[in-house]
Symmetry: C2
């Protein structure tokens, strides 16, 4: 459903940097360097009327002189020149531009007038414009860091099925680099900027059509066009989960948002209702947004509301049971045959009622078989497993991890872990996560992520039920 | 207000390990090794009727033969022998014992009968008993790891003003090792076990009198004696904050708790009211408990409800403003003279209304001076500062950190930070934290911690107002 002109936005075969500069202090240099330093295999065309090359790459005096077709123009020239540059983009046949330059609506009435001129030029030239006043975009899959961010490393960008649309440019870039550093599968970043033309919903539609993107996260202060957003999200959420951190929910926050991006934050109750109706999952903050995103990215959806809590010590089991009740997750009864199997596997004082408390000191093999027994239960649609300690000797912990991974792979039911313990377990948590098993720092966070999966599953089911026969 | 017999519990000058074993598979070996491996400078007396030494330390056949005064007995013998051993402790004049052995109330009616005998023996012998069925205790200040935990490293235990009382033994140990590995100033662990004699409130009173402990955290499923808990906490919270994660809040959770520790979880609404009345701060989960504890451990209390948000990019400022409104924190107006100073320091498009948005790219010196200007404001009682990105070149980030630390030290107002960015900033976050400046992963978490400080401050103020003249 994307406007065709926006297709090249995430996967351009060629990028022109208009305003590319040899001066390291200029953003036109940072943007060019970010692309050069990466593994982008498309064509890069620095545009600079006064240089033959920028950072070793042949430069052109104007985009009109640029060789071959150009998919995307990244614009960093001073604000007053931007409308003219957009006109030239149109003459060259460039259909998509990202205007990074600032100095538009965000600086007051004169800037707003300039932004109006920019939009007019874009319409005339037939160019779709992202921005102005944004940080750009990243697509790790093609090694392209087309941003002015100094915090995103272009080298060794990690691909990932999670994408982020951010109305806060610098924060979006910081979150992207944070997620990259922690292996969180965030592979794409799209910065909204002033949204003079392309808005957050257009960007959603771009990601809707992007095959690699499986989960969309959004950090927004408001929605530009409510009806358009609702129509798009209602459709997109049927195939891809959208997780939103919507800030500016309070009066004071909304006021701050207005002075930041000029977004009309609107009543939070309305947003809440819109998200519910359209199946958008709302996260409380960015920590929770990625807690959820990782679960969606790695786990199958639970096919029903029936869960079991597995723990090797009481506390986290109780905490998880609390969280399940608060989130509306049903803890199922284990079948008599299941209980019998568990009793055979576990010491006499273990609890085989849900939560299953194995008691500490269970061998790795038993761990795996207990988890398997639970996943085999017909009424169990997902497991929240909590490990406490279990790190000495580390070889045993490694065996536990292996047993878990082998068991989880046999089923297509979601399994979310929490593991509390010393620093020595960090590499093992890394191994689990590399094998698509999310590990949360406490059982409550794992439960909340499971609840997000279930919420989304109910929605998908509801929609398919409504489909015309 | 501690029973004198409990004084040696956290700072024993001598510890006897009754049931010390040479067999690495036995818990009596693990406990002895945990003490031997640490830096405990008190006397250690392994008690074993069949060995001359355990792990190179001279052993005694019975506690009665132990040389000199013994402050604390750590008991690991089989459950049926425990009452007799307690009797011998009394004969030797040992006033405090931690019974680690399991096989009591938690295993059923026979165990409950044995526990009754244990209590009877303890009363007769004049011995106060922690446990049974607990993991023991740790005091990092004296290098003593008197637990059966395999996840707590005895070597290089880090001292800290935060203490943890846990009704979940293994989880308490895991949290302790987690906090130690992350430099969270958690220096003491007390495990409750079955609470046949000493309960969670007695342990609170032990920590009340422990000078080093500045903040008490509790992971509990219930309180044994409501009136006693209320009396003690009402008094203790006047001098030391108590932060509680109370699990078993839901019906299902309470049921799981009952089968775990036998605690009567009680109605959560009653607990909520008790915590409010007594000034106990409730945390939602363990992540939040340590978010709060670190703030209490490092920051002065805000002297009033007036705060300012400082950010270098819009998003986190808006999110923080939302969180402030949700938490009842007032965002104050900056004075005209303050605004004038800020305008002189900041670029023209920065926002000098609260939230203060410096816009990105501010120099370290300016960062420091802006923070100083805000802390100088009379109506500002605390600052929530959010840094986004700011990590290239890393030398500049280092300068920012230095400027922050120098400025924060000049004032006695709480300053909580959030910093979102790439992995390269982790060591700098470490530096800030070592210098007693907490850094949270997002601005919302910093705000919630500030709200906990304010809640506690209001309580302290209220109490001092109520004091008899």
């Amino acid at each position: 459903m994307t406007d065709r002109a926006l297709v090249p936005l995430v996967c351009p075969r060629s990028v022109a940097v208009i305003g590319a500069s040899r001066d390291p202090k200029k953003l036109g240099h940072v943007a060019t360097k970010n692309i050069v330093d990466g593994e982008y295999s498309g064509r890069l065309l620095p545009i600079n009327p006064e240089a033959d090359e920028v950072l070793g790459v042949k430069a052109y005096p104007s985009i009109k002189n640029g060789e071959g077709d150009i998919d995307l123009a990244l614009i960093l020239v001073p604000a007053p020149i931007v409308p003219k540059v957009i006109e030239e983009c149109g003459q060259k046949g460039v259909k998509t531009a990202i205007v990074i330059s600032a100095g538009f609506r965000e600086v007051g009435p004169d800037g707003a007038e300039l932004e109006r001129k920019l939009v007019e030029a874009a319409r005339k030239a037939g160019v779709r414009v992202v921005g102005p006043n944004c940080v750009g975009m990243v697509n790790a899959s093609i090694g392209l860091n087309a941003t002015i961010s100094r915090v995103i490393s272009s080298k060794g960008l990690k691909k990932g099925g999670i994408a982020l649309i951010s109305q806060s440019g610098a924060f979006g870039a910081a979150m992207f680099s944070w997620a990259q550093g922690r292996g969180l599968s965030l592979g794409k970043l799209l910065s909204c900027g002033n949204m003079c033309d392309v808005d957050e919903t257009d960007l959603l539609e771009v990601l809707e059509d992007d095959e690699e993107t499986r989960v969309i996260t959004m950090y927004i202060e408001g929605v530009k066009n409510g009806r358009k957003f609702m129509e798009a999200t209602r459709r997109i959420t049927r195939t891809k989960p959208i997780i939103v951190t919507k800030i500016g929910r309070s009066a004071r926050g909304a006021q701050a948002a207005a002075s930041h991006t000029g977004a009309m934050a609107g009543s939070d109750a309305i947003y809440e209702a819109v998200f519910k109706q359209t199946g958008v999952i709302r996260a409380e903050d960015t920590t929770q947004m990625y807690d959820f995103a990782i679960a969606f990215q790695t786990q199958p959806l639970p096919k029903g509301n029936g869960f079991v809590i597995l723990t090797n010590t009481g506390g986290p089991g109780v905490a998880a049971a609390d969280a399940c009740e608060a989130q509306g997750l049903n803890l199922v009864k284990i079948s008599e045959s299941g209980k019998k199997k568990l009793r055979e596997l576990l010491p006499p004082f273990a609890s085989v009622a849900n939560p299953i408390d194995t008691t500490p000191g269970i061998s790795p093999t038993i761990w795996g078989r207990v988890l398997e027994t639970l996943l085999e239960e017909e009424d169990v649609y997902g497991v929240i497993a909590n490990i406490v300690g279990y790190s000495r000797p580390i070889e045993i912990a490694e065996e536990v991890v292996k047993a878990f991974m082998a068991t989880v792979k046999k089923f297509s039911k979601p399994v979310l872990f929490s593991w509390t313990g010393e620093k020595a377990i960090d590499p093992l948590i890394g191994t689990l996560e590399e094998n698509r098993i999310p590990v949360y720092p406490n059982s409550e966070r794992a439960v909340r992520a499971m609840a997000a999966l279930l919420e989304y599953e109910s929605l998908v089911k509801q929609h398919s039920g409504n489909r015309p026969r």
